[in-house]
Assembly symmetry: C2
Amino acid sequence: MGRLRYSVSMSLDGFVAGQDQSATNPLGVGGHLLHEWMRALAVWRKEAGLDGGEVNASTAVIERDDQNVGAIIMGRNMFGGGPGPWRVDPWNGWWGDNPPFHLPVFVLTHHPRGRLECEGGTTFEFVTDGITAALDRARDAANGMDVAISGGAGVAKQYLAAGLLNDLLLHLVPVFLGAGVRLFDNPALTAITLKQESTVQAPGVTHLAYSIAR
Amino acid sequence: MGRLRYSVSMSLDGFVAGQDQSATNPLGVGGHLLHEWMRALAVWRKEAGLDGGEVNASTAVIERDDQNVGAIIMGRNMFGGGPGPWRVDPWNGWWGDNPPFHLPVFVLTHHPRGRLECEGGTTFEFVTDGITAALDRARDAANGMDVAISGGAGVAKQYLAAGLLNDLLLHLVPVFLGAGVRLFDNPALTAITLKQESTVQAPGVTHLAYSIAR
């Protein structure tokens, strides 16, 4: 069975997004600082349809992180739903006609809606019966490959606290955000046993890989 | 002029001590988990008068961290003063007749007391006029060598927030404490610019070195 994985950029003071997140500033105040190391990479620019960029020690980390993923789970805000019920129907999120996932995506939400098929192989399915159900469906779709949590720290925190996450890849950025969304703020995390897997230092970031045992 | 340095073990969720710290449990609940990597080392055991222990990638990090230190600053609790005025006079802390510092130590406190000379070259001086005064006196005593902050996260946090810390060496331990004393919980830290210096992975810990610019 594939593994459930989450990769995220985190400030040295433990924030994965700045404060005052909004539809126009989804990363919150200072949150863009968490992603500068990635936006400098050729591998990132290529996916965004841009030329140029760097090849450095982060490149192999990112390439490996993209491999063997068969399905994606995301939160409702990451999809682009915003607060409240679906604002526009059909509302296709902010990803456009050809979202960059090219995989089955399972969106955790309280608001049912029908499956959405996009160009390029991305499908969105909307799961209203909780994180375990979403994981079961994503694992079925992944067909033995891994399932990645793609954004929405809240979603990742739920899977981590429930002991369902298998692999955590932290991109630790040497910056202080001072406030915002903490990845690790749950006293129940003491039930989780971590194993340090690898450490890679790269320009503007250190990649820390952990596996998780219950 | 020497640099002001602080080294500390931190859990992945950002705690440098567990909750419910007390005189009988100064590390707080679970806090001992932060130091297991160090207690396994031959270099640590030797300083503690014990035989055996491991030599691994942490050894060189610890040895380098012990070099070129000419004076130490610590908080009142680290000295062993406990809450309130000095409990016993002369109260020599919990370090015994021959403390392991062998250097001039400057203790930040609100309670004046006279200089204390111990066996083995350790002297304690008690500074009541603030962190800048303590740093000035420690720098004079260090005579061009570095000054190390030795314990008392509260003291380190004050120097960090004031922009006076030059070097931060985090020993990041793959464990969740869930609660306790956070090293980084100050919104004013956004004024601090960090530079990532080095990363060393070792058994049970990753050593992350940063320098700090204002």
